[in-house]
Structures are given as C-alpha cells and as structure tokens.
Amino acid sequence: MKTYPKNYPIVQVRNLQKHFPVGRGQKLHAIDGVDFDLQPGRTVALVGESGSGKSTVARCIMRLIEPSAGDVILHGNSILPLTPLQMVEKYRQLQMVFQDPNASLNPRMKVRKVLEEPLKLHSHLNAAQRTTRLNELIEMVGLTVAHLDRYPHEMSGGQRQRVGIARALAINPEVVLLDEPTASLDVSVRGQILALLKELQVKLNLAFLFISHDLPVVRHVADEVAVMYLGRIVEQGPTEDIFHNPRHPYTRALISAAPVAEWGVTRKRVRLDGEISTPIDPPAACRLSGRCPIEQPSCSTRDMPLQEIGADHRVACPFAVEQFPERATG
C-alpha cells in the first residue's frame, strides 16, 4: 500500500463531457461538464436519478466509452490520449464494480476462472502463487474457498456482488468506481456489502467513487457528495453539509422525497413540477428551469455555474441562498 500526502488527488476529473449524436445533427448531453477529485481512503458519491448521467461518468473515466471533451487525470497524467493497450495498464490502478452482479459475471465461468483472469492478464504470478492469491481474495470479501468452484447462478445476489468486488480488487487497484453496487440487493444484504466496502477501503486505502440514487446509503458511506441533474453537478460538498444544509432546489427535493424507515418522521416536502426535461440539445439555462419552485425570470436565459457558498460547498443556483435561509429539518 502506497502512502500519499493528505488530500493527494489520485484521479482528477475536469470538465468531463459526453454528447451522443442522436441524428439530424442533434446531440444528447449525457454529461455536460463535471469536475471532481478522488483521494485515497475517501469516498465521493455521485447522486442522481435516472437520466442524470451518473453512470456515464464512470464509463467515461474507465474509457468504456470515449468522453467528448474534458480530461481524466490519473496521478497527474491524462489518460484520455492513451491507446487501448496502454489503457489496459491503467486498469491495474483503476477498477470498477458493476451494479448488477447477475449481468457482470459471465454465466459460463466459475468464480475461480472469473478471479483468475485478471491475475493471469495483469500479473506474473505462477499457478501456485495465483492459487494463494485466490484463496486470500475470496476470504477477503467474506466468502470461503468452496465458493471458488461455483457458477454465478449457484450463488445469492450478495455473494455474487462479493465476487464482483473481489474481481475488482484482484490486482490491488488504488481507485474503485462503484456503480450502484447495492441497487439490486435486498436491504439486509445491502448493509453487509456496504460494511465490506468500508472495511476494504480502510484496509487498502482505496479511493471510491460511489454512484447511487439511494440517499440514505450515500449519507452512510460518503465523505463528499455531488448531486447530478441532467448531466450537470448542481450541488457539491461535504456529506453532512449537503444533508443538513441542502441549498439547490433539486437537492432539497431529492432529500425531502427520500423515504425514512422511522416512525413519526414527517418530511417537509419540496416539490418539483412536471417531469425531467429532455437532455437533447438543452438550452443555455438552468437545467431545472420549468420545474423549480423558486424560479426567477433569468433562470431560463443563462447557464448556472457552480458557485462556492461555504467550505468546499458549491451550488449551481444564485437564488438558493436567499430563498432557503432556514436550515432544513433533517
């Protein structure tokens, strides 16, 4: 495990953009300028609903799809100019856990083969060393050696996700992107997987990007939260700040809509009108305009950049500060 100075950014994402052409010269703006840093031992959560572009961010960082503009910097060097072959080298440091362990494990491969593949392709370990590493890995994610000889369909969802995590960690990466790692799991299993991730993060000093739509989970795991809406980050800051003092109307709507499994909690709901607007060629305007409860005339005429409103707390709404002066109930 390498040690880095405090706040050392392993990964820096700068003005990342991804536009998909959808015909007739139109473009779908899946991501429209996203910035954040990932640091060892810390978790940044990317929160948003479907269509916010949060999963596309992870795919762009891994270069499973090519970003349209912007930069992804790993240890000070941009990885976007790298050839696919050079990129494979970077996958030793950069790994990803997928949402649905059902779909991300090859149904015809036993766990042993799944976990051995990265070792064969990325390391020079001999057969005996690989076996040692496999046993170590499978126990590290809370499974037993017996699980190595099972097929994915012979295991439960939680066990499969443990295998997905083991595969990502097989070659000791420094950064792991977690794309909704608990979304397809039962609640009781969810807690176990989150605990495992936390334990591994501390043990291996991993930098996590945690992509999720599940606010209670994000509050539980993240050090920093970035809220995405229609391809943009609308609010970004330390987790407690975001949850105790959300500023952007969208953040407030999102937090106030999240169900709380406790008796007697009444939520003060912030409601948005209508439905999410189209990401195809959006105008230069606040992305929430048309739905926003505190909309001003100027909102639909210009872009709303992120503005610093507190220590590391940025909001893409100049009216949020005045309109919501009181602290949210929490």
């Binding site: 609903e49 739509h213 169900p259 499994a261 008796w263 909690v265």
Partner: protein, 268 residues
C-alpha cells in the same frame, strides 16, 4: 376488531418441480386486511409476499400448488371458487397494480383506449362516455393534459406516468373494494416514488379503499400505512400497527430488517 375484508388463514403452498415433488414456500401464512385501512406486507426476495397476494387473485404462477388454508374475501373462500367467479371478482371488487406498469399495459393500444375498454367492461355505456371517464381518471391521477395524453401509447409514457395510468385503471376505472399494489414504486426515481405514494394515499382516503401494499422498502411504509405484516422465508413473522412495528419490533427478523433499512451499525 370489525370484520376484515380479506382474511388469509394458515395458507400454505409451494411450487411443483418437474419430478412432481412440491417445494413448500408458504408456511401457514395468516393475515387480515381491515376495511378502509392501508396494510403493508413487507419482506425481502423469497419471502413469499408476492405469491401470497397473487394467490388472492388466482394469478399465481401455474406451477404453484395450494396445500392448505383459506383466503376469505368478504365471506367468499377464494381458494374454492372456480376460475370464472374469480375472474368476475378481479377488476370489479379486487384490483391490482404491478411493479412494471409499462409491461402491464398493452403496447399496441393507446392509454385512453385501454382505460375506456376496461371501463366499458365493468360499467357498460358508449365508447364516447367511456373515453370521457378515462380522461377524467387520468386527470384525477395528476397526468398533465389528459386529453392528449390519452391518445398516446404506453412507450410514450415515462415509468412514473405509466404507473399513474395503472393506478387510474385499478382504482378509478375499476371501482374495487380492495386494491393490491405489488412493489408499485420499485424501479422508479425517488421523487417519482414519493409522488406515486402520495397519490395512492389520497385515493385511498378519499374512497375509503382498502389497500394492500406489497413492498421490500420499510421507508415507504413508515409514513403511509396503518398496519404492517412482516414476512420472511414463507412465514409471517410479525404483524402489528405501523407504530408498534417501527418503535417496538418484537421479532428478531423484524428488528434486523429495520436496522438494515435504517443503515444503523447494528445491521452489520
């Protein structure tokens, strides 16, 4: 306690395997739905919550075998009535909303047509009157511009809108005494989820509907339901008022599920 509208007593059943053996999945499931109340049936994958509810409507998978026990709806034992009678109850007195609304709607007919056809099936009347009822129902579930929306096809609806249309069909076009919602908000965005639950709550209050909400999400339950039934691996492990379940859960599994839902450290 007043006479409940639905009473499931010692209901057991299982799935037949190819060899002819039956793997039991429901063990003496008993719960009752009180008239005009919202009852949540909570459980995780494999708890049997959905199969039990589907059995009420006779919609369980074909390999399901009823072993013992009864399901009593307003004095009628549903396990012994024939298919035709069950069919008559479905829609007119009991209706159901499924998880994936877009899959439950027929892709080749417009939303308005489907609602209108269902209306005529239960209430008769002219096409034109039925369509007016359909549009009115869409308006009541807060679908904007219901006149033009009624002319659209299911694929033109978002997941949340389709679920609203399904609720309009199940609760307003059909005028049931009992509405069963099977994971109605799973897979929808958080903000949409909250709106759908508000809608269900409003309709239930307004029409004194009995609602059975089948869900895995205790968060949705806390604010909306009167009673909770907790199921685990084919057993009902605890029933009680929502307050009691959330503040003083007796059963070990309920406690664990609650802790896991609240993400408290005890869950780990």
């Amino acid at each position: 306690m007043t006479d409940p509208i639905l009473k499931i007593s010692s209901f057991s059943g299982g799935f037949a395997k190819e060899t002819g053996d039956v793997t039991q999945i429901l063990y003496d499931v008993s719960y009752a739905l009180e008239r005009g109340k919202l009852t949540a049936v909570v459980g995780e994958t494999g708890s049997g919550k959905s199969v039990t509810a589907l059995s009420v409507l006779g919609l369980h998978p074909p390999s399901f075998r009823h072993i013992s026990g009864s399901i009593c709806f307003d004095g009628i034992d549903l396990t012994s009535v024939d298919a035709r009678e069950l069919h008559k109850l479905r829609g007119s007195r009991i209706s159901m909303v499924f998880q994936d609304a877009r899959a439950a709607l027929n892709p080749v007919f417009t939303i308005g047509r489907q609602l209108a056809d269902t209306y005529r099936l239960h209430h008769g009347g002219s096409r034109r009157a039925a369509m007016e009822h359909a549009i009115e129902a869409l308006r009541r579930v807060h679908i904007p511009e219901p006149e033009s929306r009624a002319k659209q096809y299911p694929h033109e609806f978002s997941g949340g809108m389709a679920q609203r249309a399904m609720i309009a069909m199940a609760a307003l076009i059909c005028t049931p005494d009992l509405l069963i919602l099977d994971e109605p908000t799973t897979g929808l965005d958080v903000t949409t989820q909250a709106e759908i639950m508000d809608l269900v709550l409003g309709l239930a209050r307004e029409r004194a509907l009995t609602v059975c909400l089948i869900t895995h999400d205790l968060g949705v339950v806390a604010e909306t339901c009167d009673h909770v039934v907790v199921m685990n691996r084919g057993h009902v492990v605890e029933t009680g008022s929502t307050e009691q379940i959330f503040t003083a859960p007796q059963n070990d599994y309920t406690q664990r599920l609650l802790a896991a839902s609240q993400l408290s450290e005890a869950a780990e």
